[in-house]
Every structure is written in structure tokens, then in C-alpha cells.
Amino acid sequence: MIELQDVAVGYGGSELLAEMTLKLVPGSFHFLTGPSGAGKTTFLKLCYAELLPSSGFMGLYGQDARTMGRDDIARMRQRIGVVHQDCQFLDHLSVAENVALPLTVSGRPIDGMELAELLAWVGLKAQMNALPPQLSGGERQRAALARAIITSPEVILADEPTGNLDWEMSLRLLSLLMELNKLGKTVLIATHDLNLIRQAKAQVSARVLRIANRRLQLAGADL
């Protein structure tokens, strides 16, 4: 699925990440933690090829990301659901339209019943015709999650999905992600919230990775 071998990322002559090696196997659940600015978002951007490694091998579904064309990357992103930290909605479209966007851009038909069910699952059925700026922080995150999974991707990447949420809403979002994992989806959540990780580890078998000194480490024992 997603495989990194000795990957480094540089920008403007400085190295942001180095010696990154990881293989996301199907059905696995990972947390990625580390202090703010450690490179969690950069790491996730690598995983959906918004950034390319400056060295090492970055494999996406068996293909070297550095040799993929723009349209290849677009097709690959239809297989990876991403919950962005800032959600990234099109503010002139309704919540339903935003959630259905991955289907729209890939030319796939939109099943109204399934869309309504998905919105109900994330608790946004009543807001389906609202515009994104009218949503609260928690509602935006749940809408972003719905958009990330509407194409039924094999991998879900979430970048600080609970960053702006209260504890109760964070747990609700976490439970949605754990449900998806139980359905066989591979989940990688970048977060600096250790309480959230502890909460999840009680219910799901998760590996915890940490970025420290620009390197990726297994951090399960520290939690």
C-alpha cells in the first residue's frame, strides 16, 4: 500500500525528515505523534504524494511516487482518503456537494441514499445543505472524514483530526475511525494528543510512531 524505505525530505537545502522507513499493511492502525513542527504533516504529505522524497524509495500501491505523473497521483489519491488539518472545503458548495466531491471528480455516479446514510453516520444529515463556513469545528472535521471515505478507500490518513475539538467530540471522531478500521481500512492518524492515543489503544490494536530529531521511531512503550 504505502511503503517508505530510507526516505528523506528536504526543502531549501535543509533536511526536514530523514531515514524514514515504514510499511503500512492492510487493516493496520497507526498513530503518528511528535511535538508541533516535528514533521507530522510533512510525513502525511509524503504518503499522498503532495510532497516527493529527496532520496529513498516512496512506494504507493507498488509504484515509485517519484516516477508517477500528475494524473497517476490523482488516480492514486482516489484510493487514499485524507482528512486534512484545515479540512479544505469548497466554501461555495454545500456540505453534501463537498462530501461527494471525490466521486464527482472521478466521474463516478453519486448514490443519494448512500450519501445520506454516510452523512447520517457522521451526524451531519441535518446539515447536508449547509455551506462549510456555517459548520462548527467538529462538524467540519466529521464532514472531512465523510469526504475522505466516500470512495471507500483502502487507506485513511488523518492530520490532527481532533486538533480543534473538545474531548467528547474527539472521542466521537476517534470511534468513527476505529469503526472504519474494524471494516478493514488502514488508518494512520497524526496527532499530538497522547490522551487520545491512550484511549484508542484500549480499544484497538494500534502502533504508535513518533517523529523525533527528524526521524521516525516506534514509540509504543513510552505511552
Binding site: 510532497l51 516527493l52 490523482a74 485524507v82 486534512h84 464527482t104
Partner: protein, 296 residues
């Protein structure tokens, strides 16, 4: 159940780009203005083409023989010329111009009271050619032998520059059309680039949810093509109305009064909105793909 959350009035792909008033108006106005100008350039081109054809055809079929001889030889040489024309292949008709016609020709320069009979004027013989035409060089040689004072003028000397001028005017009209098209492409490219830059975040979001180049470019291309086509249709309609309001061609076929369309020529301007749409399609697609190259 199939569902279109974007409503039925617009396709889903069209709605992903938010409406932008400034660039929309700019594109429509630019296309309308350019199409308006293009109608006149087209009218100029077609009118000068007609003029060149008319001059070419009218002058190619007539010639004049001028006889300059001493008064006592004038009648002899005139008879010799008429006899030569009688047996010359390619001559449909001929006649010697009388004093009244000569007076008419000279009226504009000397006034109506000129005593033509007292002036040593040459005799003029006007001839009309058949479709096959005359052998001008052969006739000249024959006239030189039989009527030494006769000179054949087949109008070539002044016909050629006139036709060349009309042809260049026609070329100028077509060149104007090309320049107008180029200017329109430039303006639409700028408007498209402004729209693309203003929607940079939209494009990044579309990229992140898996949109390919063709989808994103297509959303912008369709929008600008429709706007340019609509604007050009408006400009073409106004331009055609303005051309129709020009004075009609007079009997003499004056150039300025003949600046318009005739018959099937009125169909030519209808191609302008289609051309404008094609120009917008190409310009927007090129601008969009150029910008998308920089966004992963």
C-alpha cells in the same frame, strides 16, 4: 438511486469552480467588442474582394484604340483601324466615339462650352472583347502596319495597380481578423489566468481529492468557452446590425457605400461566435494546463 447534489441546472463538473464576476464580465465584454470589430474587418475584406473582382472583370473585357494622326490622315487611319477590328478574332463589338461622347469625357476638366471641333483631339475607338479575349500583341503589330497613329490601350497599365490595391485591402481585412483573434486570445488568456490564480485554493482542493488535469482544466475551459461564445454572439449581432445600417452599394459600386455583406456573405459573420469559442477553448486550456503543471 442516482443523485446529483449540485442540482440539475449545471453539471457537477461546472459547479466546482465558483462563479467569478470580474473575469466573467471581462471575457464577455472582450469577446463582444472583438466580434463587433471582426464583423467590420470581415465586411472590409469581402467588399475589397468584390471590388477587385469587379474591376478585374470589367476592365479585362474592354480596350480603347487611340488614333493620333494629322487631320488629313485621320479618316484614312480610322477606317483602317475599323477594318482591322472587323477581322480580328476575339472582338465582340467596336465603335468609334463621336463628338458628343468626346465632349462628355472632357466636360469634367474643361466645362461644357469647349469647342471640341477646333481642338486636335485624337479619335477613340472603343472595343469589347469576347470571352476568349483578343491577342493584344498581334493587334498592336497589325495596327502599327496599317494605321501608324493608332495605339491600343487594353487598360493593363492602370488596371494592375488598382487590382493589386484592392487585393491588398482584402489581405489587410483578413490580417485584421487574425490580429483581432490574437488579441482576443490574449485577453481571454489573461482573464483565465486571473480566474485560475483566484481559484488556486479550489484547484489544490480538487487535486487533493483526486481530480485529474482534464477535469480541472475542463471546468475552466467550459466556463470561458461559453462566455466567449456568448459575448461574441452579442458582438456579432450588433456588428451585423451596424453593417446593415450602412448606406447600400450604389449603382457605380462605390467602395465606401459598398462596405457590407451581400447575399450568402451575410452567413460569414455567423462563424465568428464559433471561432471566438474555439479561441477561448484553446487559450483557456493552455493557461489551465500550464498552471496545473505546478500543482501536484
Amino acid at each position: 438511486m442516482r443523485f446529483n447534489p449540485f442540482g440539475s441546472e449545471l453539471s457537477t463538473a461546472d459547479r466546482v469552480v465558483p462563479p467569478t464576476g470580474f473575469t466573467a464580465n471581462l471575457t464577455v465584454l472582450t469577446s463582444a467588442a472583438m466580434a463587433f470589430l471582426a464583423v467590420f474587418a470581415l465586411a472590409l475584406s469581402l467588399a475589397s474582394g468584390r471590388l477587385a473582382d469587379r474591376w478585374s472583370e470589367a476592365l479585362a473585357r474592354s480596350a480603347t484604340i487611340r488614333i493620333s494622326a494629322p487631320p488629313d490622315q485621320m479618316e484614312t487611319q480610322l477606317r483602317a483601324v475599323l477594318e482591322a477590328l472587323e477581322t480580328t478574332p476575339g472582338v465582340a463589338s467596336y465603335r468609334a466615339m463621336d463628338e458628343g461622347e468626346m465632349r462628355k469625357l472632357l466636360d469634367p476638366w474643361f466645362g461644357p462650352d469647349l469647342p471640341v471641333d477646333t481642338l486636335p483631339l485624337p479619335k477613340l475607338v472603343e472595343l469589347t472583347e469576347t470571352g476568349q479575349g483578343i491577342d493584344a500583341e498581334g493587334l498592336r503589330l497589325r495596327l502599327a502596319a496599317e494605321a501608324p497613329g493608332a495605339v491600343l490601350d487594353d487598360h493593363t497599365r492602370w488596371r494592375k495597380p488598382l487590382i493589386a490595391a484592392a487585393s491588398r485591402l482584402r489581405l489587410l481585412g483578413w490580417l485584421s481578423l487574425v490580429l483581432i483573434g490574437g488579441a482576443m486570445a490574449g485577453m481571454i488568456t489573461l482573464a483565465a489566468q486571473a480566474a485560475l490564480a483566484a481559484n488556486g485554493q479550489v484547484i489544490r482542493t480538487l487535486r487533493l481529492v483526486g481530480a485529474q488535469d482534464a477535469f480541472i482544466a475542463g471546468a475552466f475551459v467550459r466556463r470561458f468557452t461559453k462566455r466567449a461564445g456568448a459575448g461574441a454572439a452579442l458582438g456579432t449581432a450588433l456588428g451585423m446590425a451596424a453593417v446593415a445600417a450602412l448606406p447600400a452599394a450604389d449603382a457605380a459600386g462605390g467602395f465606401l457605400t459598398g462596405l457590407g455583406f451581400t447575399g450568402w456573405g451575410w452567413l460569414w459573420p455567423l462563424a465568428l461566435p464559433v471561432l471566438a469559442a474555439l479561441v477561448a477553448f484553446g487559450a483557456t486550456r493552455a493557461a489551465a494546463l500550464r498552471m496545473l503543471r505546478g500543482i501536484r
